[in-house]
Amino acid sequence: MNVLELREVSVSFDGFLALNDLNLQLAPGELRAVIGPNGAGKTTFLDVITGKVKPTRGDVLFRGRSIVGQSEHRISRLGIGRKFQAPRVFQNLSPRRNLELAIKGDHGPATLLFGSLSASQRDRVQQLLGVVGLEPHAGQPAGGLSHGQKQWLEIAMLLAQDPDLLLVDEPVAGLSDEETDRTAELLKQLAGDHTVLVIEHDMDFIRNLDCPVTVLHEGHVLCEGSMDAVQSDHRVIEVYLGVDDPEVQSVETIA
């Protein structure tokens, strides 16, 4: 059974089709990259999966069950985690407290008020702070962190949630080359135990991920395949460049 399946999903904003008959399947443990030019509907695609936007038509299945119409927090509790395009961490809370909020467990008011973190949860927070190298900053407000540190903190928050499906929106925007490589390593490690879907513009990073690529264009899937196959597909070249120029052999020359 597929972890995630989108069946002919369409989203219309006042007549504008942000998603148009989108079909997509993700197998358990798969790592998948999604690319597409600006306005291709990548973010709307994540909004539909996480419950922020309701599809006008079509169905979204998570582990075989429809999740259309469920609220964001319920979908999150089912095991779908999301990292946002611009890092969205809680600026006034320290990295440790950010992680303690995100950590897997009951997120009801009574638990937060009367319960305390279990030893294993606390260990996990400590471990994650180590993984993303934020131990020295664990106690200061996250608003003071650098852009890259916030990106990593948000990835750590995603890991703390321990979702089955990770939706990662532009994880390496604004990161240094070394950090980008480390992020690619991390995501490759996560695949297998988790299903990971990455949206990114950085072609080198996606090549580094070494995984199947889905190209979105005008709200539907243009083509799927390996990075090499996708990059030499003439339709992909056309949507990225606007013309089908026979001189251009691959998207690589654009990036």
Partner: protein
């Protein structure tokens, strides 16, 4: 003992010592009139604490706390009306409107136990239901503020028009009523009420502190800063917001009841629009998200208001407006926020007496480094300052 006088120990205990001292000394020091005023303003600190909880921490600006404040006041007012009657009598105002039997909803207020709970449970329930409906529909920000103010107007107009039920615009007088056999307006009873208010302010503060520290408090701050993000982390903000709004409602109810018995009357004026806005100003001036700032703001502004109004009655509104402008433009975190951000040091520097700034804060302010520095300074010079300051340096010439 050493710990008690160390700066950390002092900081920890001094506020409590001052509080107990104030509770014991003020009733002796202040004339009954002033003590009564202070008690009233302290009781307003409780509603302000609730506003800080929902606004300062959770980001919900309610302009309708007067609803819950007045509900608490009416609950106690109704009990006091009934409690001072001979059997078979009705509160006096009923005869003015030709009412001969006690309306049904008055009946439970014969019971002191019921009233004790009604003061805070009824406002909490009303706030909870109102809040749930609003929050479930994801109404927030300025729309939430407008909605709470509209609700306030609805309640105000309803209470104002119900002569036959609760004496309408005239309200219920409490100072000539008796509670446990003593006159509510008497000096001795007012002193007791002052102590009760002081205790309840402390209790409310502790409750708010408990709610805002720890993971629950973090979740509130997260709702304030980025509510959608928290949803995607598996939280249902509606539950959290409804809960704190109900808690703030309960606190407003307690505050209203204490204010009523200390001012001698409860009337629909407590639900007037300006009064609920003033509550927000107290919190803004004292400092949002600081808790103690809310109490401070409520007491200081109201005391200033009564002092100014005694001398120059027409100037107060200008002063209050100016104060709000000052806070919005110059002190966004209020007095307490400004204090905590090192405001007094900046004033010092302005008058040409700058505090010593640490060169390397992490090092210079490290308690261990400071302790060693003191140790070195206290050593007699004869011990050899060179060897004391550079103990690791090996003697020259040694292989």
């Amino acid at each position: 003992m050493a710990d008690l006088f160390s700066s950390r120990g002092l900081r920890r205990w001094l506020p409590w010592l001052l509080l107990v001292a104030a509770g014991l000394i003020l009733p002796v020091l202040l004339p009954p009139f002033r003590l009564n005023l202070l008690g009233r303003f302290l009781s307003l600190g409780i509603v302000a604490l609730g506003i800080d909880l929902i606004w300062g921490f959770t980001g919900m600006l309610s302009l309708g706390q007067g609803i819950f404040f007045a509900l608490g006041g009416y609950a106690l007012g109704m009990y006091l009306q009934l409690d001072s009657l001979e059997p078979g009598q009705l509160p006096e105002f009923f005869s003015l409107y030709g009412v001969t039997t006690l309306p049904g909803f008055w009946q439970p207020f014969n019971s002191p136990l019921f009233t004790f709970f009604a003061i805070w449970v009824i406002p909490a329930l009303v706030a909870g239901v109102l809040g749930y409906l609003v929050f479930r529909n994801r109404i927030k920000g300025v729309y939430f503020s407008i909605l709470t103010q509209a609700a306030l107007l609805v309640f105000f107009n309803f209470f104002n028009g119900q002569q036959k039920l609760i004496n309408g615009t005239n309200g219920l007088k409490t100072d000539t009523a008796r509670i446990f056999g003593a006159l509510v307006g008497s000096d001795a009873m007012q002193r007791n009420l002052f102590w009760l208010t002081l205790a309840l302010v402390v209790l409310s503060w502790l409750l708010c502190r408990w709610l805002t520290s720890g993971r629950f408090g973090d979740a509130l701050v997260a709702i304030r800063d980025d509510e959608p993000r928290l949803r995607f982390t598996g939280y249902n903000p509606t539950a959290y917001k409804t809960l704190v709004f109900a808690v703030a409602g309960a606190m407003a109810g307690v505050s209203g009841a204490l204010y009523t018995v200390q001012s001698g009357i409860i009337s629909p004026q407590f639900m007037a629009v300006p009064f609920s806005i003033e509550m927000v100003i107290w919190v803004a001036v004292g400092g949002r998200g600081t808790l103690i700032g809310a109490v401070l703001g409520a007491v200081v502004i109201n005391y200033a208001k009564s002092l100014v109004s005694e001398q120059l009655p027409e100037t107060w509104l200008f002063i209050q407006g100016g104060l709000f402008l000052l806070v919005v433009t110059a002190l966004p975190d209020g007095i307490v926020g400004w204090w905590r951000a090192g405001g007094p040091g900046r004033i010092q520097a302005m008058v040409g007496w700058p505090p010593v700034a640490p060169t390397y804060p992490a090092l210079d302010l490290d308690p261990q480094v400071l302790a060693e520095q003191r140790q070195l300074e206290s050593r007699p010079l004869s011990a050899g300052s060179a060897s004391a300051t550079t103990p690791q340096q090996p003697p020259a010439g040694e292989p």
